[in-house]
């Protein structure tokens, strides 16, 4: 029956009546969203408006994502408006997001729309558990949120409100309140906001300071700087051209004569790391290997590919040569720069005294690794003795780093590099390195991209003790599999997928599953 009536040129029965101003605050539990919504309500009530806020804290109170919702409207003829209890997609005037991925989530909820919504968001990140616990790189791409804001919001005010608040000695809710005022999205004067903060009575001075700073920032937006595409290389352009220390200067000139210019910055970083790790001779060894690999690269036609192989080698050979051992850890823990870094991070004043305690758990494995190769192998064959020693060594130790005795012990240990070259661990690591590089050189001649991928597999090896052993076994599995499918045209692509799956293996990645898949067709 509807049809003929629908076609009648009827006027709307009622106008799209005036609606209240709606404000949604998207936050994580414990970020002060409740305080902010309380302030906004107070602001409206002070102006004689009717305001209502609702929230669903529930279990989200502990770090989960949550949403607060405020509506406000002046009463008319003594009648209070009926205010809704939840935001409706497409009908929210202001969205305040206290974290950048939460801003993204608010867009996905449909409460940020181009016709209506002012989005006020802090672009700092508080990482979600899945981003943190992912082995390797798991951090979500903030660029996707920036892109979406561009199409979803009518007006946007985006800056790091958390940093601004910390800098001014307050919390993010004050900064967001300031940004809200500065946006001009609500019809209230700046003084009215100040009054609300004063009324609250807690940390007023710091809150006002933060509020004003955020207000100015929101009212006079600065154009965002173009983000650097890649992490900065040491030195500008092709790296430094000279060094003060003659030994460093010699290595640097050797580097510049034996490697292509594109690889200089990475090789310089690698060189610093290996020399810092061991000694000058180790730097020569590093450069010799690179030079050899670069020759292979050149023969394999690397020039047309920007010497990717050499570049990857500069990075991963340095990492392979600076494996973590007891000497390394002790050395890093006793350096002067370390203490000043901690003082800076923790915020130690001149009137305070800093001490640190390390949580170390050495095992006989690590001790044996330090010993000269022959002796270590002999010891490892004496099962009973080895187990007895392990029981003596293998326990958690609290090390008071900056107490004279412990420091002396660590310092001595950190100075035992002379022991390293003859040690069992070194022999094992270097053998492993050489096999890996042989494999890469072998493959790069047949399939350039595949050779590069094999170098990149070094990324799989990280961590200490069990984690390190797992990384090593993942590496071996992946490299073996790469060798098996090396004949295929798309081998490099599979190699990349194998490596990326292996990094996440057991935590969202299924390496065995991928290998089964690969074997089903090749």
């Amino acid at each position: 029956m509807g049809d003929n009536i629908l076609k009648l040129p009827l006027a709307a029965a009622g106008a799209m009546t005036e609606r209240p101003i709606s404000v949604a605050i998207v936050a994580m539990g414990g970020q002060g969203g409740g305080v902010l919504s309380g302030w906004i309500v107070q602001l409206a009530e002070n102006a004689g408006w009717v305001a209502q806020s609702t929230s669903v804290p529930g279990v989200a109170q502990r770090t989960g994502a949550t949403i607060y919702y405020v509506e406000m409207m002046p009463p008319a003829g003594g009648r209070a408006p009926i205010l809704a209890q939840m935001p409706t997609p497409g009908d929210v005037d202001i969205v305040l997001a206290s974290e950048f991925m939460e801003a993204g989530r608010s867009i996905l909820r449909g409460i940020v729309t181009p016709e209506r919504t002012t989005l006020i968001a802090s672009d700092h990140r508080s990482l979600a558990i899945s981003e943190k616990s992912a082995p390797g790189e798991g951090i979500a791409d903030s660029g996707a949120v920036i892109d979406a804001i561009g199409v979803a919001a009518r007006q946007r005010i985006v800056f790091d409100m958390d940093e601004l608040a910390t800098r001014n000695g307050s919390v993010i809710s004050s900064a967001m309140f300031g940004a809200l005022a500065g946006s001009g999205a609500l019809p209230f004067e700046r003084g009215a906001y100040h009054a609300v903060i004063r009324q609250d009575g807690k940390g007023v001075a710091a809150s006002l300071k933060t509020f004003d700073a955020a207000f100015e920032r929101a009212a006079n937006p600065v154009l965002p700087a173009v983000e650097a595409a890649a992490p900065a290389m040491p030195g500008a352009g092709g790296g430094p051209s000279s060094a003060a220390d003659p030994r460093a200067a010699r290595l640097l000139s050797l580097l510049r004569t034996s490697l292509p210019e594109g690889a200089w910055p990475m090789a310089w970083a690698g060189l610093r790391k290996v020399v810092d790790y061991q000694d000058e001779r180790y730097g020569d060894e590093y450069l010799e290997i690179l030079t050899r690999l670069h020759e292979v690269d050149r023969q394999a036609g690397g020039r047309t590919r920007g010497y990717d192989f050499t570049l990857a080698a500069a990075k991963y050979v340095a990492n392979a040569m600076t494996y973590d051992d007891v000497i390394r850890v002790a050395d890093l823990k006793t350096r002067p720069g370390r203490r000043s870094r901690i003082e800076r991070e923790v915020g130690v004043g001149p009137q305070q005294v800093l001490t640190t305690t390390e949580f170390m758990h050495p095992r006989m494995e690590e001790i044996a690794g330090l010993l000269p190769m022959g002796f270590a192998r002999w010891l490892k064959r004496r099962n009973a003795l080895y187990a007895w020693l392990d029981r003596r060594v293998n326990k958690g130790r609290r090390v008071r780093t900056y107490s004279p005795v412990w420091f002396l012990a660590l310092h001595t240990l950190g100075g035992m590099r002379w022991l390293r070259r003859r040690s069992l661990r070194h022999a094992e690591e270097m053998a492993h390195r050489d096999t890996w590089l042989d494999c890469a050189c072998d493959l790069v001649r047949k399939d350039y991209a595949l050779g590069v991928e094999v170098l990149k597999c070094r990324r799989l090896i990280k961590g200490y003790s069990d984690t390190h052993a797992r990384g090593l076994s993942k590496f071996d599995t992946v490299v073996a599999e790469i060798r098996r499918l090396a004949h295929r045209d798309d081998a490099a692509d599979w190699a990349r997928r194998l490596r990326e799956t292996a990094i996440k293996d057991g935590e969202g990645g299924d390496l065995d599953g991928l290998i089964r898949t690969i074997r089903s067709f090749c």
Partner: protein, 718 residues
Amino acid sequence: MAERSFAKEVEHLRLGDGDVFRGEAILAITKGLLQAGVSYVGGYQGSPISHLMDVLADAKDILDELGVNFQSSANEATAAAMLSASVMYPLRGAVAWKSTVGTNVASDALANLASGGVTGGALIIIGEDYGEGSSIMQERTHAFAMKSQMWLLDPRPDHACIVNLIARGFELSEASNTPVMLEVRVRTCHMHGSFVCKDNVRPPFTIDDALNTPKRDLSRIVLPPAAYEHEREKIARRLPAAVDFIRAHRLNELFGPATGKVGIVLQGGMYNNVIRALQYLGLSDAYGDTQVPLYVMNVTYPVIDSEIADFSMGKDAILMVEEGQPEYLEQALNTVLRRRDISTRVRGKDVLPMAGDYTIQALARGIQAFLDDCSPALLGNRPPVPDAAPVLAHPRVERLKSVVPPRPPGLCTGCPERPIFAAMKLVQQELGEHHVSADIGCHLFSILPPFNIGTTTMGFGLGAASAAAFSKGSGKRSIAVMGDGGFWHNGLTSGIGNAVFNKHDGVFVIVDNFYSSATGGQDILSSRAWNKNRQTNNPISTAVRGVGATWVREIDRTYDVGRMRSVLKEALTTKEEGPKIVIASSECMLNRQRREKPLTAKSIKDGKRVVKERFGVDEDICTGDHACIRLSGCPSLSVKHLDDPLRDDPVAAIDNSCVGCGNCGEVSEAAALCPSFYRAEVIHNPTWWDRAQARFAMALIGFLQQRRARHRIAFEVA
């Protein structure tokens, strides 16, 4: 000591006649109870009614002045049983809990109460935890009201309306000798609004009056033959009395034009959102001036047949707006109209969703579909309803879907429960996976990343009981987890006592954080704080030994991951028979910080020697494998990118919110993870001895460092 102090809110309870109350609805309800002359209040905390309990707990002075007895009950059954005080005496009593879970626990007592009936007004405040953000199974309290014949109030989300219905609810209860439930949804409980107060009322008949002149009436006790008579009485006398009262006092409301082709019948709680939906359709203004007749059921049970008939008369169709399933009210409406042979069509779940939240979007769609069908002229030219679909379909927004990570709730920074589950994960790495029965409480977050521990959760305090089927297996032992809150709620008897009796061979972990933490940190029997109104400091270990447990291990510092792990391992492998009980105790960090932070700040200000601790990560030692995070999930332990071209992966980093609990250090030590964690101890106001020691040590250290630095190759660019 609850999570929040309600000293400020308590003052709201003193407001007098004509004063305007502004604040959360749950506090308005508390004030409403005092205005209605309540004699005693009880209940069990839980979102969304925790604040009601917390405010009353902090309001002892006011309650004493008014002669009101407030009890925080052991569980909801205890609270419901407390209402028996209103059976014989003209005492007004109110209890509160989270529903439907609380109502489930209370149902035995409620059914008995409803059968015998009450003399004094008995009101049950129900925090209906339904819809988005709910932490429990999605069910309706409505069914309980129907099956036990209790009346169910569902007021409009408006402070004045709610407070008025509290007073009316007591009167209704007394007029019909029936307990009354008042249902408030989550968003309504946390809603900020205002109402004009009345003076608090001292109950005319007091608890002492009842104690001094006890009464007894066999016909009120649920025993045959009285029980049969109760059922007849419910139908013949109490229901008609209730209907009369509800009609006479117009508890249900009519809005909009007196007549129309169509009308909408709605639960009171749906009112605000229905008005907004109508506004989108051009059928109401923001002040509730609707062009569609509305019948608002502030009482959803019983349905007042005559009011439904009157409202339907002359209309082609009515729409029943009823959130949740099944559609009890829609069925009731149909019965009313069929019995009276009224031909008005009843629409409802055919145009509205059968299940889930009635969001404004869902309501607008449903009402539009209803009107399109039954009265399209009302919709006119169909004003544009807000729609986010176009922006959501934009490819840049589409792409966000795979980017924005889920954000599950987790344990707080420094939570003492984190090391328990870290230890459990380490034990399982060694002994293999075990069946783990989980329970309700903060510890339930262990089922989420990064711990992923726990198989089932059957109800508060039932963690131990839900492992009962595994009592005699010869395979790996089952593990049951339960919090101290759950333990005192019922876990001692339903779980531990039962396990002892049945010679259960499993492991029972009792997580004791000194409070009922998940609900806001209320004191319980085993709390260690001194509480002037309650008797605390009753150890869980004494209780479990009291019911016959013999293998009991107490860990009084859960952060000792190594010890935690070895105790769990012993529990899983010991030859001893019977339940293996592990009591892991450390104070809830939220409560502890709230207590200690101001004291520490004051000590530092006063010039006293204070050592502040926090943890850090040596970024050049961390390799970025994040194994530590997979055993922690602490909010202050995160990752960051280094400005180092040789590094692919972000490394671990600890921010300033660290409270120095020690978990990360202990875990990396116990699991032999990596040596990058350190604890920084900062001595504020050091003594001369501290300074002298530091000076001496740093002189030596500086000498050693300089000597070594001279040999290092300097890579500074010339």
